[in-house]
């Protein structure tokens, strides 16, 4: 019997190119699939029509339907399958379409993947990457709009990553797939069309846990992720004309979390604003503020812009827009933090 896995392919082209966030995801997948024949992609319709979010265009043609594998609708089941593959020589990447569906696979995600190596006394590694697409602004309603980014940050054994730019998407996703621990990687469906310069090649692969400074500034530090980081940059650009200098730190990893980068920035600016597309309770934003306060980082009174704690995301477009922090809302909050 011979392997069904495509043979190793050439080292991917390096260099800087312009890609959409969507293309950056696909390119990262392609490069890892090409670099390592044990990498495979599994999920619902991942191999058909480029996948539900069109991130997988061309992959089935290049790597075959064994490695780009459609699954039945059974998230908990196929995440368990990925776990079994990961401890027996494969490196599965699992797509859980909407982040709202992660709870349907939460047993595997909470109880098995992060704990499997530990409970075994370190006998195995669990190189599973879970890609999940979250976030609002698509008018998908209450059950298809969560970022889910903080649901699983309290799980030692798991790593949690996100990306707000095409460059970050390429760089972080490749690092996640190469890592020997389970990594939950969040994409934001509101960012797929976003264009940006992307450095390709192995040198671009992210260091686990490293945050990115998307924009440098001196007056205030905005810590954010995903679409909110993207909007924070836009807000910062707008405020620059008014002479407000905003530093935007994108937390690409929520576990491990890059406190040093935040501390360094806040020590410089003396002010902190957390912008998150989630309620504040139980989120990474509260965790960051708590940690900085415990460390005694001088920063006046930290501020937050989060989803209201007393509402859920509604379908009606006007309501969704009122609930999700806009560029204007972020700019306004930055202004009030700076002007005290």
């Amino acid at each position: 019997m011979s392997t069904r896995l495509e043979p190793q392919r050439a080292e991917p082209s390096a260099g800087v190119v312009q890609l959409t966030y969507r293309e950056a995801i696909g390119t990262a997948l392609e490069h890892e699939l090409a670099a390592d024949p044990t990498v495979l992609l599994m999920g619902e319709d991942v191999a058909t029509a480029g996948g539900v979010f069109k991130t997988n265009e061309g992959l089935p043609e290049k790597f075959g339907l064994e490695r780009i594998r459609n699954t039945p609708i059974c998230e908990n089941g196929f995440l368990g399958v990925a776990l079994g593959m990961s401890v027996t020589g494969l490196r599965p990447v699992v797509e859980i379409m909407f982040s709202d569906f992660l709870p349907t696979a939460a047993d595997a995600l909470v109880n098995e993947l992060p704990k499997f190596r530990f409970m075994s006394g370190g006998q195995c590694t669990v190189p599973v990457t879970v890609r999940s697409i979250g976030g609002a602004t698509g008018r998908f309603g209450t059950q298809h709009s969560a970022t889910g980014e903080s649901w699983y940050i309290g799980l030692p054994g798991l790593k949690v990553a996100t990306a707000a730019t095409p460059a970050g998407a390429y760089s972080v996703l490749r690092a996640a797939i190469r890592d020997d621990d389970p990594v939950l990687f969040f994409e934001h469906k509101g960012l797929y069309g976003r264009k940006g310069q992307v450095m390709l090649g192995d040198d671009a692969i992210a260091r686990i846990g490293e945050a990115a400074v998307l924009r440098e500034g001196t007056d205030v530090t905005v810590v954010s992720t995903l679409l909110m980081a993207d909007r924070s940059v836009t807000a910062a650009e707008a405020l620059a004309d008014d002479g407000i200098s905003v530093e935007v730190v994108e937390l690409r990893w929520l576990r491990p979390l890059d406190y040093d980068a935040i501390v360094a920035s806040v020590e410089k600016t003396g002010r902190l604003l957390v912008v998150e597309e989630q309620v504040h309770a139980g989120g990474w934003g509260a965790t960051v503020i708590s940690e900085l306060v415990q460390r005694g980082v001088p920063m006046g009174r930290p501020a937050t812009l989060s989803l209201p704690d007393d509402i859920l995301i509604a379908y009606a477009p006007e309501l969704e827009d009122a609930i999700i922090p806009s560029v204007e809302a972020i700019a306004g909050q930055i202004r009030s933090v700076v002007e005290g």
């Binding site: 058909t48 029509a49 698509g138 309603g141 309501l319």
Partner: protein
Amino acid sequence: MSANERVGWMRKMLEIRLFEDKVQELFMQGQIQGTTHLCQGQEAVSVGAVGALDERDYLTITYRGHGHALAHGMTMEAAFGELMGRTSGCCTGVGGSMHLTDFSRNLIGAFAIIGPSYSVGLGAAMSAKLRGTDAVAMSFCGDGSTNIGTFHEALNMASVWRAPIVFVIENNLYGEYSPLRETTAVEDLAERAKAHAMPGVIVDGQDVDAVRETTETAIARARAGEGPTLIEAKTYRYRGHSRTDPAKYRPEGELERWKERDPIDLFAAKLVAEGALGEGDLAAMRAQIQTEVDAAAERAAEAPVLSLEETKAYVYAS
């Protein structure tokens, strides 16, 4: 069944067809946003099955639920309003296309995430039983949804508890972009009833009379306390899975073959043959319903959007 009643089914199937066509149109105009999952081609299942329920019975449906909601008597205005995100909607616009419910008439769930339609329906059935009523529940899901665990969990509990419920699978051959056979071990999903010692019945989902008859038998069984039934209705969706799907993955000619057995055409021919409808009546009926559809959409669009403050009252009851 009286001729009048069956002509009513015809009207309802047409109403659903034209409603869904209109939704597509409104989507293109941006009056409806996000996503929609249309059911053209599956009208006989909605009308045949849902129509067999009594007022006191419970119903749970899915994101592909416009047909069931209309068959259950939801006004087109309430449905359009919901898709438009306006207060004219059945959920005042906070739910959207995937969540057409009407608790005042026991349509208690429309599920956007796969799985709970059957378990929640079972809860309503057990509630009816425990409260000593003879109401039954009917719950819908699709073929692809028979692969998620909760489907089996609900069937097992329903069988063990002899619950008064009718489970309907609308087998339209695809789960999103995937053909049934590529994701599912059995071709006849009614087979899955065997794993739970429950009768499993296959019915032609294009034949509204057959669907009606089969569901009536299952409902009678449930009401008599004899337990649940699993019905598989073989049908087909004409459109892609959702708004963004051109459905290129379908084999040549498959759509055309199914359209030859269009549930509305089949039933129309039958009614004409029986003399219940004259050749001309149909065109007139279609024209009249089209007017109603357009009028309902316009009325729905006139309503305002709920305020954020009003919406907050929906989060907690106390």
